[in-house]
Amino acid sequence: MARDLTLGQYYPVESFVHKLDPRIKFIIMTVYIVGVFLVKHIYGFAVVAAFAILSTLISRVPILSVLKSLKGIIFIVIFTAVLNVFFHTEGKVYFTIGKLLITEGGVFFALKMALRLILLVLGTTLLTYTTTPMALTDGLERLMTPLTWIKIPVHDIAIIMSISLRFIPILMEEVQKIMKAQRARGAEFDRGGLVKRAKALLPILIPLFISAFRRADELALALDARCYNATPNRTRYKKLKMHYRDFIAFLAGAAYIVLIVAVNNKFWIPTLTYSFPFI
């Protein structure tokens, strides 16, 4: 049912990763993404992949459901890979198609880009699998708090995010209702060509927007009635507490980035440079 739907795909199990402070998870996620873009070396990718897989195992989210998230980006991955094969011409030429050269450097570059995209999505998926949308907004708000110094309305942004999250299931339900109402008036949504279908959506969108604005109006009053922005010294009911495990996770993140930098500089295995020049 549309009512049960929440944004993201939180996977409710108890695990080390689930219990981590959202702030730490955000920081590690950032470090992870930086790592993904930093690696130049196939062994570096192994480090990133190992980190992602290990985290997934610890989170007790089935690897298969994390892998499912790749379905949505498969086209983008293939597209970037194919483009990159042709754009990079370096080293040994494998074969030529007209003026296009497929080279050793090109193939490796394409592979790297594809791997990067895949690892990127795997990591971020794990974040949404292990963190509730509420915790995400909460963590983000706390992390952005320093920005209030440069007059960025962090709290307003957090409230906007939280309200959007709350209204997604409500508006979904509304869409269902409007669709039923329009069907009862003889509308057809699943027939005809692309243009016809797009046009059929119009009688859904207009009532949806009207009702959304009406809701926004009442919500604004409700916010005012509850003294929104009454004092700049707003208190917080929920407290985020750092635990031991957050420190451990932080160390893991630090170790990860150090390892990647180390592998990038090839300082254990100097001979590698000669065996695979383009990796």
């Binding site: 009512r3 939280s162 709350r166 409500i170 009053l221 409700a222 009635a225 929104y228 407290k239």
Partner: protein
């Protein structure tokens, strides 16, 4: 009892295009602390305008409004006023800010800068009053309309207001939800001593109030206890309202020549009919049904 709200000759006008419209005209009344007031009127009669004048959503064009010693037109004290005058609206879905019930209840006190320990206390207290304790860390999506509206009331209670305004808060609910919310409102009024202003178009709800105001085109046409107000049949009907069903039955019976008192509720009607029947059988002792 002390006076908590006072309107002196209050009018509110607004402009749309070239025309001036009158929201309310020359309102004069005062409300005592702890009273339960029902405001009746059909759509566009100005009942919402009246309530918005109390918590400063609207500013009186003429006249003087005084709520808890504060003038709602005074922007410097507007938050002080709104924390004392809680307002619950029609659609419970449009009043919830957070995805979790306890966070939603925390929103008001957080805005007021109440310390965390006290917020926790207030949340437990408010949920207890509306009888929704076990839903503290649940999501509101799966609740019924009545339950959602009780949460909306609790979210206002957590600010510890002295006055509670319910702007057609029962209009969207099913009969069961309405009953739940009415029971909560009465409990708040009787046990917590909250001053309640209930805006409604349900007569059976107005009957429960201490005093009823009937608004018609921005003017209070009848004012008094429910019994006094509903006796003014013509004025009530002129305002586009119907009497409570028991009263309608009663009037029909009186016009048919039956001698029964004017009643407002189902229970009283039943009592009156029984009494009437007993009296009849006493008058004609020889008469028996076959």
């Amino acid at each position: 009892m002390s006076e908590i709200i006072n309107f002196k000759n209050v009018s509110y006008e607004y402009r749309s295009g070239e025309n001036f419209h009158r929201g309310v005209i020359g309102l004069n009344f005062s409300i005592q602390e702890g009273e339960f007031i029902a405001i009746l009127g059909h759509n566009g009669s100005g009942k919402s305008t009246l309530s918005k004048l109390i918590n400063g959503f609207l500013k009186a064009t003429f006249g003087e409004v005084n709520v808890l010693g504060i003038n709602p037109s005074d922007d410097r004290r507007i938050y002080e006023l709104r924390s004392q005058v809680g307002m619950v609206f029609q659609n419970p879905d449009n009043q919830m800010v957070a995805t979790m019930i306890e966070d939603d209840l925390a929103f008001g006190p957080e805005n007021l800068g109440i310390p965390r320990e006290e917020i926790t206390e207030r949340i437990d207290w408010a949920l207890d009053i509306v009888d929704m304790k076990e839903y503290k860390n649940k999501m509101p999506n799966k609740l019924s309309g009545g339950q959602k509206q009780r949460i909306a009331i609790a979210a206002i209670l957590s600010m510890r207001p002295k006055i509670l305004i319910l702007d057609e808060s029962t209009a969207m609910l099913d009969p069961k939800g309405r009953k739940e919310v009415m029971a909560t409102i009465k409990k708040l009024n009787k046990e917590q001593g909250l001053t309640v202003i209930l805006i409604t178009h349900y007569m059976d709800e107005a009957v429960e109030a201490d005093r009823v105001f009937v608004l018609n085109q921005g003017v209070i046409t009848v004012e008094g206890t429910p019994a006094e107000v509903f006796k003014e049949v013509r004025k009530v009907r002129d305002a586009g309202l119907e009497l409570p069903i028991p009263s309608q039955v009663c009037i029909e019976l009186i016009s048919k020549g039956y001698d029964i008192p004017f009643v407002l509720t189902d229970e009283d009607l039943v009592d009156a009919l029984i009494e009437q029947k007993q009296r009849k059988s006493k008058q004609k002792p020889g008469f028996k049904f076959k």
